[in-house]
């Protein structure tokens, strides 16, 4: 399915990442946004608020992030594509509802424009400290998808992808921006609507009597209906059977929860996305995501100039993590260097997959600013020497 041309501002624009994310959402068919102001994400909802009246959308500024993160889920069951937007403190408040969306298989998008934490931290300064929270933040086991854009252009493109993935797998998708990407202004090219691929919601269309809301047919993802369609659906955050009815038994738990995990795990090869640059034959691979991918480039180029064989693997989809690729590389490279604007989160995943077969070096930073490329260069140099 192609995008609705009504919402698509085809052309070349000079946009910051936040605004570009808003345009991506509109192009993706999102017509319900609930949010609460928080730096540095507020520009996303501000643009939504000014654009929605012209594209038939509903924006509501809720009383807090908790309300926002569940209002969007009401809207999804009412038939809309929906997202909410926040930053660290708000993201923390939303955790329970990420779990609800995972449990009830409600497709929706959570945008987190990361700032330095913990707590109120540095509200106007960048960080990447919410990466593990995006994966594990809600209690219990569930699968999740998270994306990490590194430019305003990607804020557009990947927001559409976030919506598409959420519909395809009926899962909440975390859109992990950061303050730098959110406030960075660059050229953003918005293609014509007929070149934007949209994954529509998979609605059940068979006989009403046969419908079981949480029955799957092989692909681990059940078909949806919406309120008002006459199915008398019941949706609950309690452990539920295929009818959607609470069934608080071990067998039901053993059937439902692994499916919620496996629908992402088993489809990971299809979901995973990364960009590689000179990884084949590299002795050192720098693993980056979001803004660190850009601060790493001068360091990588300098190292290459000096003759070091340095590859760059940039995560576009952060969760699920590209386990297979990292494992494969681990037996061939000397070291992985992982710069991130936190004191060690995604590096744990790299270490897990490398499993001792190569060195793994964190270039950590608690946030507030971006890395000095020199710091990354120094670690690359040290790692290349072995």
């Amino acid at each position: 399915m192609k995008a609705d041309p009504k919402g698509v501002l085809t052309g070349s624009h000079f946009l910051d990442g936040d605004h570009s994310c808003s345009e991506g959402a509109i192009a993706a068919g999102c017509r319900f946004v609930a949010g609460y102001p928080i730096t540095p994400s507020t520009e996303v909802v501000e643009r939504i608020a000014s654009r929605f009246p012209y594209v038939g959308g509903m924006f509501i500024q809720m009383e807090d992030e908790i309300a926002s993160s569940i209002a969007i889920q009401g809207a999804v069951w009412g038939g809309k594509k929906a997202m909410t937007v926040t930053s660290g403190p708000g993201f923390s408040l939303m955790m329970e509802h990420i779990g609800l969306a995972a449990m009830t298989e409600t497709p929706c998008v959570f945008v987190d424009v990361q700032r330095a934490g913990p707590s109120t931290g540095l509200p106007t300064q960048p960080a990447q400290g919410d990466m593990m929270q995006a994966r594990w933040g809600s209690h219990g086991d569930y699968g999740i998808i998270a994306l990490s854009p590194n430019s305003p252009q990607e804020c557009f493109d990947l927001t559409i992808k976030a919506f598409n993935l959420s519909e395809q797998y009926r899962v909440p998708v975390m859109f992990m921006m950061d303050e730098c990407v959110g406030h960075m202004t660059e050229r953003v090219v918005i293609p014509p609507a007929d070149q934007i691929e949209i994954v529509p919601r998979k609605f059940y269309e068979g006989p009403k009597a046969d419908y079981l809301p949480y029955k799957t047919n092989g692909d681990l993802v059940p078909m949806m209906v919406k309120a008002g369609d006459g199915y008398n659906i019941h949706v609950t955050g309690l452990t539920h059977d295929e009818r959607g009815y609470p069934s608080m038994t071990v067998p039901t738990q053993e059937k439902l929860i692994p499916r919620l995990v496996n629908k992402i795990k088993h489809n990971a090869p299809k979901i995973v996305e990364y960009v590689e640059d000179q990884v084949d034959g590299a002795e050192v691979v720098v693993v980056t995501f979001g803004i660190t991918s850009r601060t790493s480039i001068p360091a990588i180029e300098q190292a290459r100039k000096e003759g070091m064989k340095v590859g760059h693997l940039r995560l576009v989809v952060v969760w699920p993590f590209p386990e297979e690729r990292i494992r494969e590389l681990a037996s061939r490279v000397r070291a992985f260097v992982v710069p991130e604007l936190n004191l060690g989160q995604m590096v744990l995943e790299v270490e897990r997959c490398v499993a001792g077969k190569a060195r793994v070096e964190l270039v950590g930073h608690p946030g507030g600013t971006v890395h000095n490329p020199k710091d990354i260069y120094n670690v690359i140099k040290k790692s290349a020497k072995g």
């Binding site: 609930a34 009246p53 807090d64 569940i70 209002a71 008398n232």
Partner: protein, 291 residues
Amino acid sequence: MAEELFEIEESVPVNTVESFLRMERMPHIWCPGCGIGTTVNCFAHALETSGLDLQKVSVVSGIGCTGRVAGYINLDSFHTTHGRAIPFATGLKLANPELKVIVYSGDGDLTAIGGNHFIHAARRNVDMTVILINNFTYGMTGGQVAPTTPLSATASTTPYGNYEQSFNLPYLAESCGAVYVARWTAFHVRHLTKAIKEALAKKGFSFVEVLAPCPTLYSRRNKIGDGLDQMIYYKDNSEIRNGADTKTIPLEFQGKIVVGKFVDKERPTYLDAMNEFYQQKLGEDYIPYKG
């Protein structure tokens, strides 16, 4: 002649309440003498005579004993997180304004953890009916003190009695802008049915508080008998005072209970206000939002 008129039919009519329930889920979880099931009867009868297209009716609950209502109602129903039924309902209603959205939940859920959402939905006048079952306690977790527990009443977390002032919910709802506010008890089944029917017919944020016995965790702990004793208490100590100033009707421990319809007024709903405002501001460029 009279004899013939009252001849018993061979086939008895079915209990209409059952068509509104997921009977395969019975028996329900509520204790003997709990009043929640009683309110569900009234709700079902109100729906039955409301003239609403039942396919377009959704029930949203939070967590707790009353939070289980959504699971028993045979309509589109959503059992959400603790305290968040109202913001979920807000999203549902605004996504599809054709839906009639009813929030059915308890006092702890809607006015403690969900208090913020309650006041804002009333302020915005989001078009929904909120049926709040007030049993003065958190039943499901074992009878802890709630924002509705009357002064001096005992709860598991106020073992020597409650010293916090409780909410006067009709006053709260009215202050925040609800367009319909009523209070009844589980004893007043006919009045309650009528009130719910009126609330359903009302455009905007309508609110019905229903006092209901929690024999297991409120009445027994407070030595005021069982469910039936509470119902008799409601019967003997309620005063119907329609139009009462909501300021004057707080609830006290085993005090007089003022019931009735207190507020019934008109105010633009959130959606109507938005559409009207944008039409004025943006003119023809604005296409009124219809979902």
